[in-house]
């Protein structure tokens, strides 16, 4: 099977590149080994204070609403981090002192939402907090199996039940100016978070839960629909096992499912993610890129790979595939002319990008532009 461009990796970078290229008239395929990092997405893309209307437009055409608003966002553990671009249902505040009193609402039996951490974090900013648990009979069915009372299961119920939650919250609400709810709204219907907000007479903040991330899954579903609507071929659950490269040009790739049916293309984009997605692999002796064997920048001395203090910046997070200034991949010191690299596999996501999500989008757009110009 032959395409204009084949994208290896179906996460945020792959989707953005795929949508951009399809929209420009190319025929592309995305080969994705399982689901991606958007399932662990916080909802905040980056803290780079440089608005890019193109990103907001690309997402809005897929039905994903973003807002650019430099400030801070509230992490699931009650800390504040810088952000500038996020999903619309993830608030960005000008300062951490965004309210006076908060009502934090959780569901009885749900352990993946850290209300006490959030309360502690807000109290540090001078807010007073009250934590309450809702016990909805409709959630009893989920409570039967506590290990499966997860964000996505609750969110499926909330698509139908959000009005009832709103009623209960209105009853609980006293003089608080802020209500904190877990991010379990709007899995299928992206309009739900907005409707929850407008029907509670206080500022509603949706705070993160443990994975799977409901706003992340909603985002990936909408991006995938958009990509397929534009005619893109999405190969889910397949894996590139081998690439055929000749004199600096990649001709085709072989996949686990298609064995000897090779996928050919004029250009290839590698956006296979970091260590979790196996875009980068480590063993006791080296860090390598498993498909093309590209050059990887990393510390030779394994003792320097990680910092024993878990919360500190981890050196291995900076390891990544080497690329030239136009993001051509580098193999044995030489740039490959039709293989580009985007997203977390590049490692060392520059500090000014703030988070990997923003870097994934910006590198993917850059690569797509390069391909379209050449």
């Amino acid at each position: 099977m032959k395409f204009d461009t084949v994208i290896i990796g179906g996460g945020l970078a792959g989707m953005v590149a795929g949508i951009t290229l399809q929209k420009a008239g190319q025929q592309t395929a995305i080969i994705s080994t399982g689901q991606n990092a958007l399932h662990f997405f916080s909802g905040s893309f980056e803290s780079l204070k440089e608005a890019n209307p193109r990103i907001v437009e690309l997402f809005s055409e897929a039905g994903v609403r973003l807002h650019y608003k430099p400030g801070v966002w509230l992490t699931p553990l009650g800390k504040f981090r810088e952000s500038a671009l996020s999903l619309e249902d993830v608030d960005i505040f000008p300062t951490p002192q965004f309210g006076r009193k908060a009502l934090i609402v959780n569901f009885l039996g749900y352990h993946d939402f850290f209300s006490s951490f959030l309360a502690e974090g807000l109290e540090k900013q001078g807010m007073s907090c009250r934590v309450r648990f809702l016990n909805l009979p409709e959630l009893e069915i989920l409570q039967q199996s506590p290990s499966e009372m997860r964000s996505v299961q609750i969110a499926r119920t909330m698509d139908k039940l959000w009005e009832k939650v709103v009623q209960e919250v209105r009853v609980l609400l006293k003089d608080e100016d802020t209500v904190l709810l877990p991010q379990v709204f709007g899995l299928q219907d992206p309009s739900v978070p907005g409707r929850v907000r407008s029907s509670i007479p206080a500022r509603v903040v949706f705070a993160g839960t443990l994975p799977p991330s409901v706003p992340g899954i909603r985002t990936i579903i909408l991006l995938k629909q958009r990509y397929q609507l534009l005619g893109g071929t999405y190969m889910m659950g397949d894996e590139v096992v081998r690439a055929h490269t000749h004199e600096g040009v990649v001709h085709s790739v072989a996949t686990k499912n298609l064995d000897n049916h090779y996928i050919e293309a004029n250009n290839f984009i590698l956006c296979t993610g970091g260590f979790f997605s196996k875009g980068l692999v480590s063993n006791p002796f080296q860090v390598y890129e498993p498909i093309f064997g590209l050059d990887v920048s990393y510390q030779e001395d394994r003792n320097l790979w990680y910092n024993p203090s878990f919360q500190e910046d981890q050196p291995y997070m900076h390891f990544g595939v080497k690329a030239d200034e136009n993001l051509h991949a580098i193999q044995d010191g030489k740039a490959l002319e039709n293989l580009y690299v985007a997203g977390s596999v590049l490692g060392d996501t520059h500090p000014e990008f703030g988070t990997a999500a923003g870097a994934a989008i910006r590198t993917a757009l850059h690569v797509a532009d390069e391909i379209l110009q050449n």
């Binding site: 080994t33 399982g34 290990s147 499912n257 298609l258 997605s277």
Partner: protein, 408 residues
């Protein structure tokens, strides 16, 4: 650097990072709270079961074996294989009489065929459905697949000479459904392949792939079928140098993946030469062969990728073939499970769950309102036809219907 390969665990379960992605994609978990979910039933449970089989949980029978957890897993864990293997290894409950009946597709087909009109009449009656519901716990809402009066095998045997005249030959593993219920699909496949200059042969004697035996707790019988079928495939592929084509995604997945992974039956010699006919046809066209389509063929077709085809990764061939037909308006339906999972949905205790799982798919089909739903799986077909009223056709049959044939 074989270190990591050498330490690879059974079904890769130690690669599980507890990321919970599989739980977001399990269709059963959304509809049945009694099911512990793929993470718990698969890799988490496996750790416990390895310590003591006491931890085997009967609720694993609620797994559909749809493999959606495996397709979603970012770490390459064979979650559904872990669950089905545990059932094979630890479940000592003898299969119910009903499950034996449902799983014995070969035997039922052989018995029903000579008296097909009678059987079809009887299984269509409300009273029979009620009796089966009460006595056998086969849900009364189900529509039973009709049996054909003449098997596909006997139809093709009569055309042996005519088929042998084609310059290129393939063997066809048709499966129980084509043989006993829908010989027309087999005839359609012959028509399309003939148009490409390819003659179709039968295997000497194929048996049911055995998937229903595996999921109904009859793995010893399934293994026998597997060994028999591998012998038959080897004869065609290794001895005669033929490719073997199929038209059912589940039979194909079973022979390619379940034989080695669940039943321990080696298929290495034949694995790469057994292809869905859609893939075989696509590859022929890619190499320059041509099919002529009718100018007057105009259909709006919504394509549903069966879960097992998604796991195989071969849905793209069906998609591309349908898109090649000039008069087709093609719509790719969202990736969803229809909920029937072979014999699963026929069981009374699963009926409601089965319909709840399929609802998002049914709703999308109703809103798309196509002329035909296309799908490569026979049990998806029964489920979608029963639940939505839309006609479901295998892509091969659609190709056959749209073909422009010069002669005849």
């Amino acid at each position: 650097m074989k270190l990591q390969e050498y330490t690879r665990s059974h079904h890769n379960f130690e690669e599980c990072m507890k990321c919970t992605v599989c739980t977001a994609f399990c269709p059963v978990l959304q509809a049945n709270p009694l099911y512990p979910g793929p993470k718990q039933a698969g890799p988490d449970g496996e750790r416990l079961r390895l310590k003591d089989p006491y931890f085997f949980n009967q609720a694993l029978k609620y797994c559909l074996n749809c493999k959606r957890c495996e397709v979603a897993c970012p770490s390459g864990v064979n979650v559904a294989d872990l669950i089905q293997s545990a059932r094979i290894k630890y479940d000592q409950t003898p299969p119910k009489f009903r499950d034996t009946l449902l799983a014995s597709t070969d035997m039922m087909g052989t018995l029903a065929r000579p008296v097909a009109p009678l059987v079809n009449f009887a299984t269509g009656l409300g009273v029979t459905k009620t009796v089966m519901d009460v006595t056998l716990k086969i849900d009364r809402h189900r529509t039973f697949p009709k049996y054909a009066g003449r098997s596909f095998e006997s139809w093709l045997k009569r055309r042996r000479k005519e088929q042998a005249a084609f310059p290129e030959q393939v063997a066809y593993y048709h499966g129980c459904y084509v043989n006993y219920n829908n010989p027309q699909l087999g005839k359609d496949l012959v028509k399309v392949l003939n148009a490409l200059g390819v003659g179709v042969q039968l295997l000497e004697k194929e048996k049911c792939c055995g998937i229903a035996l595996i999921t109904n707790g009859m793995s010893a019988k399934a293994r026998k079928n597997a060994e028999h079928n591998i012998g038959q495939l080897r004869q065609a592929i290794v001895d005669k140098g033929l490719k073997v084509v199929t038209s059912s995604s589940t039979c194909t997945l079973t022979i390619r993946e379940e034989y080695p992974n669940l039943l321990g039956v080696d298929n290495a010699e034949v694995r790469d030469s057994m292809l869905m006919a859609t893939r075989f046809i696509y590859e022929k066209l890619e190499k320059g062969a041509q099919l002529k389509f009718r100018a007057d063929y105009h259909k709006k077709i919504a394509y549903h990728t069966p879960c097992h085809l998604e796991k195989l990764g071969w849905g793209i061939f069906s998609e591309k073939l349908l898109q090649m037909i000039p008069g087709v308006e093609f719509i790719l339906l969202d990736s969803n499970c229809c909920g029937i999972a072979g014999t699963y949905g026929f069981k009374k205790e699963n009926y409601k769950v089965s319909q709840a799982i399929g609802e998002p798919l049914f709703a999308q089909i109703r809103s798309v309102n196509p002329d035909i739903v296309a799908c490569d799986c026979e049990t998806c077909k029964w489920q979608i036809e029963m639940s939505t009223g839309y006609t479901v056709m295998n892509p091969i049959s659609i190709l056959a219907e749209a073909l422009e044939l010069n002669e005849k």
